[in-house]
Amino acid sequence: MVDDLNNEFVRTFMPHMDSAFALARWITGNPQDAEDVVQEAYLRAFRAYERYTDDNSLAWLMTIVRNTSYSWLRRYYPARETAVFDEALHSDGAVPISSTFRLPEQQLYEQLERSQWRDALDKLPVAYREVIALHEIQGLPYRTVADVVGVPIGTVMSRLSRARRHLQQLLLNTKSREQTPCNANKSDS
């Protein structure tokens, strides 16, 4: 009976390992910490398995991975800013992007290399990085992202929109630095 419990857990949750690792990597900022976080998260999930009644095993696990990641950050990197920025400063419903969302350069995204994408992601504030990771990279719908992060759907939408614009700016900065290598860059973020 105990073996059955174990096997059921393994069958349900081991397929989500890559997603768990990706989320942990983007929240903690490096793959070594991600490994530790994922191990701890899976153990926590196993111990809490009795209480699992969801029909969405990925969302349930991602919530645990997210919580474990932030606990990890608070424990080992207490100086790092992990608190969510004050949403009230930017609060609104649908965010109009016409003025601030720049039209991409011709084939901007296709010309960028993997390292440039990942550097840009690393530079994002963690609250932006996690919605990008959950929605853009893992392909989770708004509803699921909202459940995992613990905010209303509207907040997910506006946060995602700002994250995209912020990311685009970082990627554009990378590109222009590439094209004019002799320019001294005054600000680096």
């Binding site: 990597r25 530790d36 039209l103 990279i137 719908p141």
Partner: protein, 249 residues
Amino acid sequence: MQCEQVRQLIEAYVDGELPAHEMTAVQAHLGSCGQCAELETGLRQMQQGLRQHGADSAPIHLRRQIEKSLRTQPVRSPPRAIHGWLGVAASLFLGLLIGGTVPGLWSVATHDNDNYQALVSAHVHSLMADHLSDVQSSDRHTVKPWFTGKLDFAPPVQDLSDHGFSLLGGRLEFIRERPAAALIYKRRKHVINLFIWPEAGPVETSEAQRQGFNLIRWHQGGLGFSLVSDLNPAELTTLAQLLQAKNRT
């Protein structure tokens, strides 16, 4: 639908989160508006780039470690509760088969319990500031001789940096009033204490958990060895195996 409205909905459109009638309306507009269509393309290309370059596969060894540590999890139901004590139970059973007279299960279990408790306390205490090492060095040729004159046995000190365990130093310890050597290793962020003292006993490892720490014990060459750490059981087992192998030579 006008450009301004479309621009407000374009992200939800690309994300497939619009109700059907809005999807259709936006789609129709995009068919005849170059600027808005470019916005859509840009969003999709960014998404594509993120999926391609932002995704990470979990390393294979991580998968194995997790499966292994799930299997060694102590379970609450009584029949499995002795799983972690299997080493003790097995050697007792063997003792019964061979000798007949063996210390009672409970007395031995209590003895082990006290030892485990003492080891964890020593480990926790060492994690406090300035308590970790008496001799701080990653060189085993510095750490090993330091114990001469302080202990009446020579603890083997191994260099395992090639395997990802770095030696931080050594410390004099007392485990239940017995002098012992403590060697401190580190694996990523995890501190590992290896306690060594003279004792005869079974070579088989026995594992336990106390207060969230993992412990592995074994005997070799007349010495008892105990590892204590918050490092996961799978990697701690690897360390135990490496130490056993190196101490054999």
